[in-house]
């Protein structure tokens, strides 16, 4: 597919942010985590697009919006290989990769049903840890239990 036809699939934006290389199945989670379902700006998205690197990928474009790095890193849980491209006047002005932050607040539920965050109105807080097999886990600041990646539920 040439570049021109590719552009037609998801419209180009003049100013704003493109989030590329999102796993297709997680595009809607990214939209939710970043609150794009509530923005007043134009949002375009695509899923199951062909990608040389990943087979299938998702992409989101948001007009006239730029993200602080802490904010964009929240999506690292569902799109660890995502690329963030900032566009100003149709030109790419910055390209960064997301990275998993040391702390995750509010966006994920604690897996432990007896945790205070699941009993009263308390925002969740986790630190990101890795087990002996290198797997990422979220350690709850309150109940001290670990939530593994397979058990992540987004608020």
């Amino acid at each position: 597919m040439n570049d021109k036809r590719k552009e037609l699939i998801v419209s180009a934006i003049s100013n704003g942010t493109v989030i590329d290389h999102i796993p297709s199945e997680n595009v809607f989670k990214v939209i939710k985590i970043l609150g794009l379902d509530k923005t007043g700006k134009q949002v375009y998205f695509g899923t199951n697009l062909d990608s040389k690197k990943y087979g299938k990928k998702g992409i989101i474009k948001i007009s006239d919006t730029y993200f602080a790095i802490e904010e964009i890193n929240k999506i690292a849980l569902v799109a660890p290989s995502a690329t963030l491209i900032e566009i100003r006047d149709y030109e790419v002005t910055r390209k960064t990769n997301v990275s998993i932050p040391a702390r995750i607040e509010k966006i994920v539920k604690c897996f432990n049903p007896n945790c205070i965050t699941n009993k009263e109105e308390v925002s969740t807080k986790f630190s990101v840890i890795y087990d002996e097999n290198g797997l990422m886990k979220l350690s709850c600041h309150y109940c001290e239990k670990n939530t593994s990646k397979d058990n992540l539920i987004f608020i």
């Binding site: 432990n112 007896n114 945790c115 205070i116 965050t117 009993k119 009263e120 109105e121 308390v122 087990d131 002996e132 709850c140 600041h141 309150y142 109940c143 001290e144 239990k145 670990n146």
Partner: protein
């Protein structure tokens, strides 16, 4: 430690742990003083735990402090649906420090974030019980003369026993050799073993307790509960294998002492009680001195 809440044993450094144990030693010599005169300590037991509550209340009253609070939520506004935050903020108005026991995991950490006064966690669900951990450490040091380089054996339910988890984590400061005896279904969780590995210490796992009695300085017994086994037959298979009998202690070291967080059911046979190696009843008494040390150091009086 002044004005700082004690929620989890890892809130205290090694030096702070030792400071509490040293203070507790002073209180053991002189448990009745007017140190807390004029201080009001709130004792909020959102679930009943008579043993822990009496230990705290006795600790405070022997130092001349007064106690307000409740021993169950049956007659309180909690029953009417009051949030933990509201209860804690209200009680903070009337007290200098809050001791709380609560059935929900993480409730004490949350309370410590909303309360203007310090919180002592007297057990939050299955999570932490740091004052039990400190009294266990005190009992080990008192009976062995040191905390360093000991062979400490944990027997029973090492998977769900929160007192075991906290004590293992705290002992990682003291170059302990860990001996872990449990049915395969109830082995120490890998999240706790991680602490042992990170401290570059060693642990050995056993399924038979006879193997390990002669090398132990401390045996820490816990109860195996039937409801921990999805298959009742698995429980039947192991239920009698982790009971400590007096005969088994014949080859124990003379300095060895047996600890248990209590209440005991049948995991330590009654014939052990008269053996000088049985230390679990004195261990409970040590809780009073340790709690006096914790309360007075948080209030900045020691």
């Amino acid at each position: 430690m002044k004005n700082r809440s004690l929620v989890s044993i890892s809130d205290y450094s090694k030096e702070e742990i030792i400071k509490i144990l040293d203070l507790a030693e002073d209180f053991e010599k002189q448990p009745r003083q007017e140190l807390l005169k004029g201080k009001v300590i709130a004792s909020l037991f959102f679930e009943p735990s008579t043993r822990t509550r009496l230990s705290f209340e006795s600790a405070v009253q022997q130092l001349g402090g007064s106690i307000i609070g409740f021993s169950s939520t049956a007659t309180t506004s909690v029953q009417k649906g009051e949030t933990l935050k509201d209860t804690i903020l209200t009680v903070s108005n009337y007290s200098d420090l809050i001791v709380m026991r609560h059935p929900v995991d993480g409730s004490a950490r949350y309370a410590s974030e909303v309360a203007p006064v310090p919180i002592i966690n007297a057990g939050d669900g299955a999570n932490q019980h740091p004052t039990q951990c400190l009294l266990d450490l005190y009992s080990i040091r008192k009976t062995q003369g040191t905390l360093d380089n000991l062979d400490i054996t944990f027997i029973g339910d090492l998977k769900y026993g929160r007192t075991v988890h906290s004590l293992v984590i705290a002992l990682c400061h003291f170059n302990t050799r860990f001996h872990l005896v449990s049915p395969v279904e109830l082995k120490l969780p890998s999240a706790v073993k991680r602490h042992i590995k990170e401290a570059n210490l060693r642990y050995e796992q056993y399924t038979d307790l006879a193997d390990v009695i002669p090398t132990s300085d401390i045996i820490y017994m816990t109860r195996i509960q039937r409801e921990r086994f999805p298959d009742p037959l698995d429980y039947e298979k192991v239920k009698n294998s982790y009971i400590l009998q007096n005969d088994a202690l014949e080859h124990a070291k003379q300095n060895m002492r047996i600890l248990h967080p209590l209440p005991r059911v049948n995991e330590i046979s009654v014939d052990v009680d008269n053996n000088p190696m049985a230390y679990y009843f004195q261990q409970a008494l040590n809780g009073v001195y340790v709690r006096q040390a914790i309360v007075s150091s948080i209030l900045g009086l020691k």
